[in-house]
């Protein structure tokens, strides 16, 4: 109580000080400056937390999620594939990635004005986020450039050479990620709904840029690289669903930074995206579990966490555009749809997308992108305005049926770029590194020993 009182008196004293300072030059100007600085500090605080949350999604979140799903001889190698991107994608982003993604340029790619982070400092970039330092915006976007290639690693788990994986993800970032990020989020990008895109496509936090691009590339990786030795006849059970469970829950929490952080401020849009994100995950977990319980007789933990991730993926493009009830619906549908893609379609078609990067991220991202065009509402976020500045309808249910078409075009462009570029890049990388896959002996030995010379579990040590 005493402490509370002293805190109160301190803050009162602070307020008095602010007012007395404001009184000297011009009261209203100083007050305005004070309010602006307070808002910048508040927004910056939330955005820095969001940056950290999104990094946590890659390591340890995704690393644990994927690491638990592989056999124990591959646990370190799989975690390393996520971890190394925390280093590689960061350096690449600082050198050219941020500039190619977010500098002004053509409709498809930014120019080099921000190369080596030239001019990216404390002053806000008012085009993107007027209330946070430009450097914060750059850092937040960097975390997305880290996790996106890391998601792909689920498709070639347990069988790709480390050297080939490193080279592939560097080239993929340059050829697929930076252009797509520019097209959807960059100033003047072809698909940017807010900044003058010719085909306004809604993607709040990366349904197209992150999940469709990584998911479709994952499918191409699985097709080009073929199956793991012995798949599907030899047992390849997840070695620790406990690790996967922890990883999935970290992903869920980190996703608040991913989606609510994409509001680029700490206002009510961030809250709305936060709520939609959480509701999407919850409903999708139930959707997947319900489908699984009916079809296989048992609701599994792996099913529950897979469903939650599928829901988080699907709500990502719409998180800042839809109300809570549509968020529940998008999540529930995504849970059932991704269950079907992972459990039925994959086995029917026979490809070995080992950890279901396509079935969850490609499929969930595509569904989410389309449903965003259905449920988006100007009550939450209004990208389209008439000449007088009044908000125009956004989604199909508000009467803007054309938005679904735009979403489909955006999805189509992402599919084609990711699919074609990944195929060509894999061929090129293979030529350089003498094949993409581990030798059969190395694959039997496992990633940990053959690629890194260590083991995840030395229980006798």
């Amino acid at each position: 109580m005493k402490r509370l009182f002293s805190m109160l008196s301190l803050s009162l004293a602070g307020a008095v000080q602010v007012f007395s300072q404001a009184a000297t030059p011009s009261p209203s100007a100083a007050l305005e400056a004070g309010i602006k600085s307070a808002q910048m500090n508040a927004d910056n605080a939330w955005m820095l937390v969001s940056c950290a949350l999104v990094l946590m999604m890659t390591g340890p979140g995704l690393a644990l999620f994927y690491g638990g799903l592989v056999r124990k001889k591959n646990v370190l190698g799989t975690m390393m594939q996520s971890f190394i991107l925390m280093a590689i994608a960061t350096v690449l982003w600082a050198l050219i990635g941020y500039s190619l993604s977010f500098a002004d340029g053509s409709s498809f790619l930014g120019d080099f004005r921000y190369a080596f982070l030239e001019g990216v400092g404390a002053d806000p970039n008012t085009t993107y986020a007027a209330t946070i330092p430009h450097q914060t915006f750059m850092t937040f976007q960097m975390m997305f450039a880290i996790i996106t290639p890391a998601l792909i690693t689920g498709a070639f788990a347990e069988r790709m050479k480390f050297s080939a994986m490193v080279l592939f993800t560097i080239l993929w970032s340059i050829v697929v990620y930076f252009p797509l990020a520019h097209m959807v989020w960059g100033n003047g990008g072809l698909l940017n709904a807010f900044l003058g895109g010719k085909i306004p496509c809604l993607d709040f936090a990366g349904g197209t840029v992150v999940h469709i691009s990584s998911g479709v590339s994952a499918l191409v990786c699985a097709l080009v690289m073929g199956k793991r030795k012995g798949y599907p006849n030899e047992p390849m059970k997840p070695h620790s669903l406990v690790l996967s469970f922890i990883g999935a829950c970290l992903l869920w929490v980190g996703w608040f930074g991913f989606n609510a952080g994409s509001a680029l401020g700490s206002g009510s849009l961030a809250t709305s995206a936060f709520v939609a994100t959480h509701f999407g995950a919850a409903a999708a977990a139930l959707g997947w579990l319900a489908a699984e319980w009916m079809m296989h007789g048992k609701p599994s933990v792996l099913g529950g966490i897979s469903g939650a991730v599928a829901g988080l993926v699907a709500i990502t493009p719409g998180a800042g555009f839809v109300k809570p009830m549509p968020a529940l619906m998008i999540g529930f549908l995504a849970g059932i749809f991704c269950f079907y893609m992972v459990v039925k379609v994959k086995h029917m078609l026979g490809y070995d997308d080992s950890l279901d990067a396509f079935g969850v991220h490609g499929a969930g991202g595509t569904l989410g992108a389309i449903l965003t065009g259905v449920f988006a509402t100007k009550d939450i976020n209004a990208p389209f305005k008439d000449a007088a500045g009044n908000a125009l309808p956004v989604g199909l249910l508000e009467g803007n049926g054309g938005q679904v078409v735009n979403q489909l075009i955006g999805v189509g462009i992402a599919w084609v770029i990711a699919g074609v570029a990944t195929f060509l890049l894999l061929k090129a990388v293979s030529a350089v590194t003498g094949g993409l896959n581990l030798s059969p002996e190395e694959e039997t030995e496992g990633l940990d020993l053959s690629q890194h010379g260590e083991e995840g579990y030395n229980l006798e040590a």
Partner: protein, 112 residues
Amino acid sequence: MKKIEAVIQPFKLEEVKEALKAIGVDGMTVSEVRGHGRQKGHKEVYRGQEYQVDLLPKVKVEMVVASARADEVVRAVAAAAKTGKIGDGKIFVYDVADAIRIRNDERGEAAL
């Protein structure tokens, strides 16, 4: 001397150890093993991928006793490990040619 090798359900290990202690058997080697007899395995499903798990976790208890006591020990182990359900395990009895206590070179039953 006889070697008695019992492959039992893991959750029965404590009861078997108690039973052996009760009749004065004070040496044994225990290992975690996997196997199956008529029990067969069970089915596991991970994201729709079904695995038939044939080899189930079991515990193997090995001990060497004087020939005169072998029957008594076998009966004690069997009684303690029994649930009456399929999968309870098996006991095997072998002749042992010799035994040596490494510490002081005692041989035969004296080394047990």
